[in-house]
Every structure is written in structure tokens, then in C-alpha cells.
Symmetry: C2
Subunit: 138 residues, 2 copies
DNA sequence: GATTATTTATTAGCCAGCTAATCACAGTTT
DNA sequence: AAACTGTGATTAGCTGGCTAATAAATAATC
């Protein structure tokens, strides 16, 4: 069996390539790859509980917890109380966390170009749809 | 900007899904996700130096070194001397490392089905080719 | 009301990536 | 021969993902 002829194999390799590029692009503006996705979620809905962040991001609660530690340490985010439940905390964007969005958007456009540079517009759309199917199935 | 409409975003999410599935399938036969790729490389060419493994796998030397530690500990692989250069070591498959290939192949087929289950044969081929382009560019 | 079960956050610890820094050896240069 | 340069393996330490186990608070049940 020739593993390298399978889509799974290519997918894994491409995943490494992508992660390295993502990390590099985000490092330029003082962020790590995992932090960006948490910020994106908070830009949509600020003040979410950690458990809801984890659920929406499809990540485990400990993973989100660890990432939040970094974001709090870098002052992109703060923890607040959740009114009617002492177990939960609300996560709020700081001004820095709000302001960094513009930079992330710029880097994201460049990332998209780096990763998909050799693909036509049609190919990008096809790839997007295929990935959507994979995510839905997983 | 709606990040979730970009291929990069979907790619990252799909990457997480894939890695989780890969890890789960390989755990069933006592392997970790990273170890499998090193074994695949050794199944092609046994007795490679670590630096060559890293280069062919497109991984950093420390990453390969760490993975080899696990493979040696689980007796899938052994370290040997490199004849004309005392800096290098040759990595050899053990009998266990040779024998496990059949199981990996079976798991790999199932993985492919899990990940790409909702895709037609044509879509899989298209995906494969798009991923190839991405890897080439990165 | 007291006990039990569930949920949320957190800690500990694992593997997979990475970079930076060491150490030992090989090769070159002078 | 000696000094410098380069290369291969390794160590230390980081982020990002995970599971398992705790602790605290809420919810449910008896």
C-alpha cells in the first residue's frame, strides 16, 4: 500500500504546512495560532462562558482554558463573573483584544494567499466546500 | 470580515477533526499519530539517518528525535551506528515495526473512510490534487 | 432538608509540532 | 598541526491539542 497516494496522507502533510504558516503570520502581530480562533469567537459574541467557547470552537475545555491563560497574560482578554452561576466565568475582550482584529484580518488575507496562492478562484471554492463536508462528517 | 468563510479557516478546523480521528484510529493498535509517519518512511527505506528522516518527512530534527524516543521505547525501532560518521545514527525497524504495517494499513483504510466518507470518488481525487498543490506551494 | 448527580473550571500529564542552544564530530582553511 | 566552520543528535522549553481526575457549585432526587 502506498500511503502517500491517499487523501488522508496529503491532508496530514498539508495540515503541517498550514499550521506553520499560520503560526508564523500570527507571530508577526504577537499572537499564537490557537489564540486567534478564540478571539474570532469573541469578536462574534463577547462575554461568553468558557464552556460555550469550547463548544463553539469544537475544542476541549482544558484546551480553551490554556489558550485563555495566554490571552489574559498578553492582555487581549479578561475574566469576569457570571451572574447567576458561580461556577462559570465570562470572557471579555479588552480594548487591545478589540483593536487587534484589524491586524488579524490583514494577516489572514496574506495567509490565504500564501496557502492558496497556486489555486484558482474556482479551486478555492471547491476546496472550501470539500472541507466543509469533512468537518460536517467528523 | 467573516473568517469562517475562508478556506484557511475551514482548513484549520478540518485539520483538528482529522488529527483527532487519526490519533484515535492509531491508538487502537498501540501507535500515536506522529509515529506512523516515521514508520511509513522506514517501510520505504530502512536504516535511514535521523536527519534524512526529518528532511523527507518535512519535520524538524527535534520532532523526529522525540518521536523516535517513543518508537524505541515501544520496540518498533532501534538505533544503530552509522559507519563512516560517528555523529549520525541509523534507525532500523524491529520485527515488531515490520509486522505492525499490516495493522496500520487496515486502520488507514478505515480512517480514509471516516474522513472522506461523505465524498464521492471524484471529490476525493479533486481533494487529493488540491492538497498536493498546497503542499508544493508551502 | 439531605443526599446524590451533574456541570464548570481547573490541574496534571501526555503527544506533536516548533525554535534556540549545546555537544560532539567531520571538514576546511590557514 | 591548529583553528575555524559546518553538520547531526540532543536538550530545554514553548504552544496546541487531548484525556483523566479534582474541586466547587448547581440541579435533581429522595
Amino acid at each position: 500500500m502506498e500511503f502517500s497516494n491517499t487523501a488522508s496522507f496529503q491532508f496530514s502533510k498539508a495540515g503541517n504546512v498550514f499550521r506553520n504558516l499560520l503560526e508564523r503570520k500570527m507571530a508577526e502581530i504577537g499572537l499564537h495560532s490557537g489564540q486567534v480562533f478564540v478571539l474570532m469567537e469573541l469578536w462574534k459574541i463577547d462575554g461568553q462562558r468558557q464552556i460555550d467557547l469550547a463548544s463553539r470552537l469544537r475544542l476541549s475545555p482544558p484546551t480553551v482554558n490554556k489558550i485563555l491563560g495566554g490571552l489574559i497574560g498578553a492582555d487581549f482578554v479578561t475574566r469576569g463573573r457570571y451572574e447567576d452561576d458561580a461556577r462559570s466565568t465570562r470572557i471579555y475582550l479588552t480594548q487591545k483584544g478589540i483593536d487587534v482584529r484589524e491586524q488579524v484580518e490583514r494577516q489572514w488575507v496574506e495567509l490565504e494567499e500564501l496557502v492558496l496562492g497556486e489555486l484558482t478562484e474556482t479551486e478555492r471554492l471547491v476546496l472550501f466546500q470539500l472541507l466543509e463536508k469533512i468537518i460536517g462528517g467528523g
